[in-house]
């Protein structure tokens, strides 16, 4: 037992002097986390923010044929810019983004309008330009269609027909989303970030204490020490775990502080990340630490060099974590057995805490005990690997 602690202490202290470990554990998550959060928020606000009130300019062909309509658009903050283009030119102008969108009023518009026949208007738009021309075209279409509907109703009234006859069914969507649930993507990313930063924090130590130790040639001497080889590896796994705990705590702390400065409610979202939920997150995610540390140690033990270990572990830590970022969007519902899957179960607990809900004790226990059990099995496997002669390489 004492020797496990001695190995742990040496690995822990030695790696405090290793720039790579320090970067991965103390800098990567805590710095990158808040930056990613801020960047994400920037993206979601630029998409979700309301741009209806912003003045825009609309290129119109044949504006002289529908002066009233132009007046209507102008009154909605849409500046009309008369242009002379035929249909082919209009297509090209939009495709080449010369104009965001082009409205074309045909010559016979006024006549058909006067005769109460459907008066056609052409709106050229590049639907692949989702945040530019498409949005503007949608706005113009909205204005025109509302105007058309009103006009139609008036025409019916004039002819003595109740316009309500045109609306036999009215569907009223009732939005039950809460600010927290609207933040699903953010939650997914945040939870992914926490788990990823945690694994990242231990990665270099897991490599250094296995493949690195062998590559440097210090492993042989270490294995001649009078203690079971498995004790050596348990000490190393503990040191890796310690760095992972530090990494995850710092990352959660940094995100918590950052979120105090961002008023998410203004964007119609809310994430419950105060001191208490930050503590809960670290608590719920920590059973995964032993699992991650042992898994990385086992994988790194098979590799021949530091570089090889690095590329394998890169995969090992992103394969189980990357899908987490999208689970919220995919709408995967947590069932009891999903709480038995390490990393997935921690993700569910994390998002629940962030949503301001209290996870059930049972789920917390299932998540923790399964992850810890698998972690211990993996640690034992790592110990067994070091009993083999092949470990000398």
């Amino acid at each position: 037992m004492r020797s496990i602690f001695l190995v742990f202490a040496k690995e822990f202290l030695e790696n405090l002097r290793d720039r790579r470990t320090i970067m991965a554990a103390l800098v990567f998550g805590p710095v990158l986390g808040p930056i990613m959060l801020a960047a994400l928020l920037q993206i979601s606000t630029s998409r979700g923010g309301d741009s209806l009130d912003e003045p825009m300019t609309l290129a119109v062909v044949g504006s002289q044929y529908a002066p009233q309509l132009m007046g209507l658009l102008e009154s909605r903050d849409i500046t009309i810019k008369p242009v002379e283009l035929d249909e082919v030119q209009a297509r090209r102008a939009v495709r080449e983004r010369e104009h965001a969108t082009v409205l074309r009023v045909p010559e016979h518009f006024a006549t058909r309008f006067a005769n109460a026949a459907p008066a056609p208007l052409q709106l050229f738009v590049d639907a692949s330009d989702r945040f530019g021309g498409f949005k503007e075209a949608e706005r113009v279409r909205g204005v025109l269609e509302r105007y058309g509907t009103e006009l139609g109703q008036t025409r019916l009234l004039v002819r003595g027909v109740d316009p309500l006859l045109l609306a036999p069914i009215v569907v009223q969507p009732v939005d039950v989303s809460t600010p927290a649930s609207r933040a699903a993507l953010m939650l997914g990313i945040l939870s992914y970030l926490v788990i990823f930063a945690m694994l990242m924090g231990g990665m270099y130590l897991a490599i250094d204490s296995t493949a690195g130790e062998r590559e440097r040639g210090s492993l042989e001497a270490l294995l001649t020490m009078p203690l079971p080889r498995s004790y050596l590896i348990y000490g190393k796994i503990l040191a890796t775990s310690a760095y992972m705990l530090i990494a995850v705590s710092l990352t959660v702390a940094a995100c918590t502080v950052t979120l105090q400065f961002i008023r998410l409610e203004e964007f119609g979202m809310s994430i419950a990340l105060g001191p208490v939920s930050a503590l809960l997150i670290v608590l719920f995610v920590s059973p995964l630490i032993l699992f991650g540390a042992s898994l990385m140690t086992v994988v790194a033990s098979f590799t021949r060099s530091f570089r090889e270990a690095q590329s394998y572990l890169g995969m090992v830590i992103s394969v189980p974590t990357l899908p987490l970022a999208f689970i919220g969007v995919l709408g995967l519902t947590p069932t009891a057995w999903l709480y038995m899957v390490p990393s997935l179960s921690q993700h569910f607990l994390l998002t629940q805490v962030l949503r301001g809900e209290t996870p059930s004790i049972l789920n917390v226990l299932i998540s923790a005990s399964v992850s810890l059990t698998i972690g211990m099995i993996l640690a034992w496997v790592a110990g067994r690997l070091y009993e083999r002669e092949a470990i000398l390489g």
Partner: protein
Amino acid sequence: MIRVSDLRKSFAEVEAVAAVSFTAENGEITGLLGPNGAGKSTTLRMIASLLKADDGRILIDDVDIAKDPIEARRRIGVLSHASGLYPHLTARENIRYFAVLHGMSRPQTDRRCDELQSLLDMHDIMDRRAKGFSQGQRLKTALARALVHAPKNLILDEPTNGLDVMAVRALRELLSALRQSGHCILFSSHVMQEVAMLCDRVVVIAHGRVVAQGTIEELRAQSAEPNLEDAFVKLIGSAEGIN
């Protein structure tokens, strides 16, 4: 004292050590001499309990290595072929780590570090980080690490590889001093002059077998060659004839 009898070890299809028996006495330097790939390193690794023998017996001061490897390891110091250090630790910290793993107390460790520092003339490197150490400085540190628990038996695998003349001289003096104080020293080499200069007894290994052993004089007599080099070539060459 190290006693080895009928040692055998195969890796997959290759028989690395086929039949090795010898005794390395206390107060003597025993050299394992043989060409590269003869099975010297494999033999030493088995004695250091890094590898398990397929067959045969290894006794370290009467402790059977197969039965009690932990106790056997306490009684030997190993300077392995690749004796890497921890680059972020100072020489002293490197040595101290092995001391505590041997169960030594802090005051004991500190006293021993001071002793080794003078013994190996490490004053200038003791508190420097091992990163960037020269070959000779690395060897000194690794040697101090192997000696930290004051083992009676010392195993060195090709210790002079890559060392400059001065470092080799220092090592030779150290090994002589240890012999004087009654240690059992076993080392491997493929350099004949080195073995001839240092060893009390020589075990000549070729193709995983002991082809001759004895004092330098005995080997010379056995091969009927007055020149040492010719003697070894003859001994090893005849071994090839046996296969």
